[in-house]
């Protein structure tokens, strides 16, 4: 394990825990942004530059802003809660710990993960664009349709209801 990996891993996991446990919702959104930035750094470390920058653009640039907007729109005059965790939090935490135990045990005991490292692939954005326009053209069209439908659906769902008079 290299030092950059360890530093980014600690930063990412700490901010993820903070995003899940802080009381103030805006602080949660800020911690989430740090987590997304850490993940983008991991993508850059793994030689996936395009995905790293797409992560920064989409998650930090759009999703985090969207979450901040939702927080600002929904937090008007709510009384402070005695507890931010639900009554059954013990069950939730134990399910999460069990899931991590199973995943971690499988990863550590697997034979498939001890392969040798191959030289970094030489991938240009031009190549990604060509592949998107030839081999992956159908998924690209489907994702465009999905995003359009999601856009229209989100606007219609969040629109003001007309009250019958």
């Amino acid at each position: 394990m290299s030092w950059p990996f360890a530093i980014i891993a600690v930063l990412t996991l700490t901010s993820a825990v903070a995003a899940m446990s802080l009381r103030n919702l805006v602080h949660c959104a800020l911690a989430l942004t740090v987590t997304f930035a850490g993940l983008a750094a991991f993508y850059l470390q793994l030689d996936a530059q395009f995905v790293g920058f797409a992560q920064i653009l989409v998650y930090i640039g759009a999703v985090a802003i969207l979450i901040v907007f939702a927080i600002l729109l929904t937090q008007r005059g709510e009384p402070p809660r005695p507890s931010i965790y639900s009554a059954t939090w013990v069950v939730g935490v134990s399910i999460a710990v069990a899931v991590f135990g199973v995943l971690g045990g499988l990863v550590l005991s697997s034979q498939a993960v001890t392969r040798e490292v191959r030289p970094p692939p030489d991938i240009s954005v031009r190549e990604i664009g060509e592949q998107l326009m030839t081999r992956f053209i159908l998924p690209l069209e489907v994702i465009g349709l999905l995003l359009t439908a999601a856009l229209i659906g989100a606007v219609i769902i969040a629109m003001h209801e007309r009250r019958p008079k």
């Binding site: 919702l25 989430l32 993940l39 939702a70 729109l73």
Partner: protein
């Protein structure tokens, strides 16, 4: 270079943190953030397996993650629209209080 199982363990831990948050928090927005964290953990797994896989030149892992990011963006938009709609209806985002099927 960092071995593959470090990335896999990190992504499993991130998934578990997101799952714990989604299952224990009361606020609907934080639950959505937890789901986003789980999606991101899956994306990290895709990229790690692509990089350490037999043929990284084939670009399949990168393409999968690009489409996955697109789906996650659509999910976030619709989810937050639903939360805003629920807030307008029930005047709260506390999931314990949103328990009636009929408005």
């Amino acid at each position: 270079m960092t071995p593959l199982h470090c990335y896999l363990l990190l992504s499993a831990l991130l998934f578990a943190i997101g799952l714990a948050g989604a299952l224990t928090r009361r606020n609907a927005i934080i639950v959505l953030i937890g789901i986003e964290l789980m999606l991101n953990a899956a994306n990290l797994n895709f990229i790690a397996f692509w990089r350490y896989g037999p043929n990284p030149q084939a670009l399949t892992g990168v393409m999968f993650v690009i489409f996955s990011i697109g789906v996650a963006a659509a999910e976030a938009a619709v989810g937050l629209a639903l939360i805003i709609s629920i807030y307008r209806h029930c005047r709260t985002t506390n999931l314990d209080e949103v328990d009636s099927m009929k408005g």
